[in-house]
Amino acid sequence: MPSSDTMTFGSAMPAVSVHRKRRSLAAHATAYALSAPALFLMGLLLIGPVLVVLMMSFTDYSLGNASFEWVGLANYAEMLEDDVFVKAIGNTLLYVGIVVPASVFLGLGTAMLIESLTFGRAFWRAVYFLPVMATLMAMAIVWEFMLNARFGMISQLLTLLGLPAKNWLQETSTALPMLMVIGIWQALGFNMVLFMAGLTSIPRDLYEALELDGGSSSWSRFWTVTWPLLSPVTLFVVVITAIRSFQVFDPVHVLTKGGPNNASMVLIYQLYQEGFDFFRSAYAAGLTVVFLVFIFAITWVKSRVMEKNVHY
């Protein structure tokens, strides 16, 4: 009896597994068929353009040309020789390196100050958020007016104090710093609102527990509760500000056009010039790839840090 049992069992096995395989194939086919439209659209709209840009960066295509040649890494080799590109990369990194920490810490400080107010919170929140709501293009014109050497209010104020007025946006030494000031001014309000949301989500009883545990100074409140509990928000704010700072374009375009003498040239503005002023589409594609590499790098660092440190 046992042998016949084993026999039946043994012979039944392959049949079952073949049957299962067939069924799972069928199930998979259905799943692929159902997700095909979404996958197709994702490929077409999200991944496709990136691949096209990557391929274009290996050609010598110019806008309006009827044909192109494959030139391998020639565009990238040219970048290394290109003084404007080197300047643009340097300026962009410097811009990000200043604007991100400044707007993050000022945003956090502003948020904490406003949250500590007993009244008038809504007013100050609106005031600091104003630059975020106004388009940067329009606000750039306001800044241009304010910074005008002859009748700008900043220059007038300096003259009043007996200090020399400058043509801030036209001088090599001040053009980029001025753009940074505008960048910080704009990002601060957005970061502040995010930090405010983060601050209100910290449970009050943690501060009360700390108070009873003996931590009564604002210093220990900040380091023991506020800062660690804000770390997910802080990471998010840093990443968002970094990506937006890498993309800085509007004020450069309106106020300095990357000048004087490329002193305020940044990556995206060079990309715009190469692509739409000089019609060197392939070179612009190469610059786009460089830009995307930076963005991917930030995103990668973010997800690594996120995994390790800032989840509770």
Partner: protein
Amino acid sequence: MAAVGIHAIQKSFGSTDVLKSIDLAIEDGEFMTLVGPSGCGKSTLLRIIAGLEAQDAGSISIGGKAVDDRRPSARNLAMVFQSYALYPHLTVGQNIAVPLRMRNLSMTERLPLVGRLSPKAAGKKVEIDRQVRRVAEQLDIAHLLDRKPKQLSGGQRQRVAVGRAMVRDPNVFLMDEPLSNLDAKLRVHMRTEIADLHRSLGTTFIYVTHDQAEAMTMSSRIAVMMEGDLIQVAPPAEVYDDPADIRVAEFIGSPKINILSGIVTNQGTVGCNGVEIGIQPDCPAGAEVKLGVRPEKLEIAGPAPGRLTAEIRHLENLGPDMLVHLRMRDEADPIVARCPAENLRTARVGDQVGLVFSPGDVLVFDGTTGLRQPSRFAVPAPEKIHA
């Protein structure tokens, strides 16, 4: 260890008076439970003792000294919060260490890198680690020291919160509904543990709860609060057997005490549902009174003249005992009797039965104020009639 004095504490939020002049003396080493329904002001009172909330009037003293102008950190209290309030980014060990780090290390010694340079700080940190381990072993959580609060169960978090409170030697332990987030079984278990902890530490405990069972099982004394007033302060047995107010009688005890309405007769006894109850309260004839009888003091008997009668509506078998839910004519609230199950073998839902109780077990309350009325047994004291 210290005694806590609460003198004429008042507090209102906007136009609502949350605490209406509370006076309470808590003795050194006592387990005092503040109990009452939600919104009675018990948590506010605890927060005022802790210094987390400022009173509008009155004074708090700890160990005989007024502490009203002291910050919470300077009052040397430890508190277990309802939410446990564990620091989510710190491990269990670091959570328990916070009170010691805050009090024993200077600001620079607490810094992650600079702190390592000081040899004195290193010695202190070893001592802190030793204390944390001692407490963790006492609470049976030593194996969890490296975990984050997120990775713990509710009961384990509760222990960590207790550990953080007991790691240093506070004057008083404050506990704000510490068991309310636990499941029923664990809550019963933790009652014993907290009572044990109080016995072994000998420190003053002030415990806030809305659960009368917690108050009854753990406390040396219970302070019953209602609508911002302190109604009765007494040991658990006294609060149960000798409540000062009908609200206390109704709040303490489960199932709830049975309340019957009655009127004082010309003979001075109480008429209730056409039956004369052999008890003489100190009230004028014609006064309305409320009679309270605990469910376990009621017995079920056959209907007879001169006996309160009721209809059985539902029988709840608890094993050794049976809860008999009864409906009496002219009484709005149902009556519950708790009787040994073997006495009720033949009882069926729908039966008309008589209710028997000893006049000595009847608590008389004023019909309008709800205050307890002293009463005597009518002479001759009627015999208890058995079924």
